[in-house]
Amino acid sequence: MREVRHGTARLLVVDDNKVNRLLLTRSLELQGHSVASAENGRVALEMLRRENFDCLLLDMEMPEMDGFQVLEVLVADLHLRDLPVIVTSSLEGIETVVRCLELGAEDYLPKPVNPVLLKARLGASLEKKRLRDQQKEWMRRFATREVAQDLQESGFALGGKRIRATVMFSDIRGFTGLSETQTPEETIELLNTYYTLMFDAISGHGGIVTLMAADGLMAVFGAPLPQPDPCHSAVRTALEMLDTIDLFNLERDAAKKPQIKIGIGIASGDMVAGYAGTNERAAYTCIGDTVNLAARLESHTKVAGRPILIDNATNAAIVDRLGTESLGQVPIRGKAKPVDVYSVNRDQKA
């Protein structure tokens, strides 16, 4: 995504006719824009996938891949479907205009393109794109890329669907005591650094953070977008989080600050994932027994004295690749029967 500054945009002109291409490029450059050009739809799509553009000015009648085909590809492409397209064509008949608009074109300008009309239509398209980009940016900041993508694809609706995924809870040990020994500013700084490090580890393995509460966080692997191996990704994330905290503690040690320790609980299985809240304010979250179990396992790390605890389902999925140790059956609050609990070894063979 690019920000359009001072009315100057990066534009792509697509036309098989050299005279038309030169003339439209010239008109746009005279309006202060930066313009690239392509001689057919295939070349244009290659450029669009390589480079960011603010608007596409598209001819319809072209060899190899015509404008209609380009519009069809764009509308099906998640990364390109929001790109505004202004069709510039001298095709005859109102049905052509209707078909272009139905395929997602923002506007239609007949050739020869009138420069005044071009400026006005382009300005309107760029402004709409700027607002859309701004909305997406806000959504990314508050929702994570995956949730933003899910919302973009499926739209927003309260309610959930049953999925299989892996949930992780993580918490800083003794955080309350730690907060009392330092200023609120230091605590916020610590939390911000901690979140940054943990978010990097989680998103680096395809997980999303669905909840942040003081020093605790909840992450999901395998939702809203499916993941091939969510159990393995979650456990790998947990190991990376511990390694990161070790490095962070070296820095804190050097600054004569107390070390921090974290506990992590992971469980896999069925859960209900979706948007909970109200139509005005909602969050993407997962609920169910699996989620409760992960939270309990995180809490049990204090009792067990082990940093990463996982459930039976997670262990079964990773045990052939990562070293774990059975802690036997453990009574867990909220569960009628004791559950199998495993500790993940810190030292893993590569």
Partner: protein, 115 residues
């Protein structure tokens, strides 16, 4: 110059909005591209390739309109919309007529370009 060969108002507006030097470049490009497109049109007619025939005629129409070559653009439009059926019926005459009109357009544009 016959006004139906090149409509001066259209040409002057093009020159004023795009700039004199640029229009010289644009005319030169057209004088290279148009004969190629006319050849393409003839070849598509010989091969009965409807897509290429329509596309070439469409391109020539579009460029004719850009420079104000009204008659030329109208002839190209007839070919674009009519396909090669009427051309076959007329023994290829409309293609010869288009090529002849292009000769007049090229001469007029060359004159304007050097003015």
């Amino acid at each position: 110059m016959d006004e139906t060969t090149i409509d001066r108002a259209t040409y002057d507006e093009l020159r004023d909005t795009a700039g004199s030097e640029f229009v010289v470049e644009l005319v030169d490009t057209f004088l290279v591209e148009a004969p190629r497109l006319i050849d393409e049109l003839r070849s598509a007619y010989d091969k009965r390739d409807a897509d290429v025939f329509r596309r070439s005629a469409h391109s020539l129409k579009s460029n004719g309109n850009t420079f104000g070559a009204r008659t030329f653009a109208a002839m190209a439009k007839d070919l674009e919309l009519g396909g090669f059926g009427p051309v076959v019926a007329a023994g290829g005459a409309p293609l010869d007529a288009l090529a002849a009109e292009y000769g007049r357009v090229a001469a007029a544009l060359s004159e304007l370009r050097n003015a």
